[in-house]
Amino acid sequence: MSRWEVVIGLEIHTQLATNSKIFSGSSTAYGAEPNTQASLVDLGYPGVLPVLNVEVVRMAAMFGLAVNATVAKRSIFARKNYFYPDLPKGYQISQYELPIVVGGELFIRDDAGDEKRIRITRAHLEEDAGKSVHDEFEGSTGVDLNRAGTPLLEIVSEPDLRSAKEAVAYMRKIHSIVRYLEISDGNMQEGSFRCDANVSVRQVGQVEFGTRAEVKNLNSFRFVEKAINFEIARQIDVIEDGGVVVQETRLYDSDKDETRSMRSKEEANDYRYFPDPDLLPIEIEDSFVEEVRRSLPELPHVKCTRFIAEYALKEADAEILTVSRPLADFYEEVAKATAGDSQIAANWIIGDLSALLNRDNIDIQDSPITPTALAGLLDRITDDTISGKIAKEVFDGMSTGEGSADEIIAAKGLQQITDVSALDAIVAAVIDTNPAQVADYRAGKEKLLGFFVGQVMKETGGKANPGQVNQLIKQKLS
């Protein structure tokens, strides 16, 4: 594989989280009965006209500023003409020559772990098409136009990605950004965040790009990675067998883990783009852009850098904690509230809390343990009231609503035993009842220390302070 270089560009379509559609006043809410959110404008009735939603302009500008792109002072809507049942007007209102966002960049880690800049070509506004249902009606396809007219921001990267992993890393960053900005819920299952991958291969050292194939409609990070890897292997096989890669559109079949050619797109489409005469150019004032800039939240990469500095976190941990704003906010609340160090807060959130949320399929905003409550638990570990192990038991209790950390510790009597004389007695008892191990230990098997500690912990129901126990045993056996 090392004589081949992979070239990937991603086109990401993200649905903008507006209340109403881009060109009509219909609701964009997901899951409604078919065609109950399709107005005459969405249906492309004779005589209707599009009227632009101000919120989509604001959201596009936010994205542009977040990726360091230029927000165009003047941009134009164009018609992309083609026939398909889910496209009621027979054209999609999109942007072609003058998109609303031009340029841009973001940074990922490449396969070697080094920072890599990925350039963004452009981002433009367009309307989504409806949905087709092929298997419900005998011999027919059913068309639901609820989704027709939902605003989309199409984000196009330069072909700077060199592996499936890089592609996924880039996609994750974009996902994180649009959710941070609250311009999209990024819900891939519901189709509000979709990815098309343009993949090609070339010999290492070759200057021109190879012929690329487009794999459409990938709606999970996993599928993106698998589809791209399949496609890379497929293309290499084709070329090594003496064939030629065909420029075409392919669909990823997740059941079979393969891509296949789309029959309906065999004929090259001539979209006959021209500026939409029903819409005038969008003109954006500098003052509007400045206003948007002021309203931007702290962006993920900025927050991540700050976490590393402010909370002395490892980069890996900071990255995880800043993937989403609610998670990052949760962390900061805990870190500020606890007397313990910020690393312990990070560990517990990345570890136990995340495991709990995943298991029960809850969002961080709905966590049964609040930041203050968690901070309370961490404080008890920090002040040695309980050990880390006991803390897990307390945590479980907190997650099922048994009360705060203090309440549960008190109710179950989980305080660590730190009274030296009490411990002393127990240690002495353990030593007395295990003469063989004592002899072995004194003979050199130092690992048996753990055995003794374990016995003491058993006797104390886990409540002895391990550090103290350790010391006492060493003293007595020396």
Partner: protein, 121 residues
């Protein structure tokens, strides 16, 4: 108006151009080109229509080719007669569910879906 007079009139208009360059006689449209356009436009033409369309379309294209000689260097294409910029609307939901009324004109619906012959992707 007489056909010849028409051609004279057209020639006179060409004569009013600032820079007069008589364009090369363009090749009329081929049947294949017309067939391709008909598919792009999703228009079925009957055999007897087809010949007529090829010939008339060629005439029209021939006619509009006069534009080629117009002096348009550094001229910005007109997107709109008005020098207005786009009015925006607030992000409010203003449409209710009017499915029944909207589907009154539909040739084929089932369970709220519009039906078309099965599409295989």
């Amino acid at each position: 108006m007489h056909k010849t007079a028409c051609i004279i009139v057209a020639a006179k208009f060409v004569g009013y151009l600032v820079r007069l360059e008589i364009p090369d006689r363009p090749v009329p449209l081929t049947k294949e080109q017309v067939q391709h356009i008909a598919i792009l436009a999703r228009l079925q033409l009957e055999d007897d229509e087809f010949e007529d369309v090829v010939s008339k379309l060629s005439k029209i294209v021939d006619f509009v080719d006069q534009l080629q000689a117009a002096p348009t260097e550094n001229v910005v294409p007109m997107a709109h007669p008005l020098n207005m910029s786009l009015r925006l609307r607030a992000d409010d939901i203003t449409e209710a569910d009017n499915r029944d009324r909207n589907q009154e004109n539909a040739p084929s619906v089932d369970s709220g879906y519009y039906l078309v012959p099965r599409v295989i992707e």
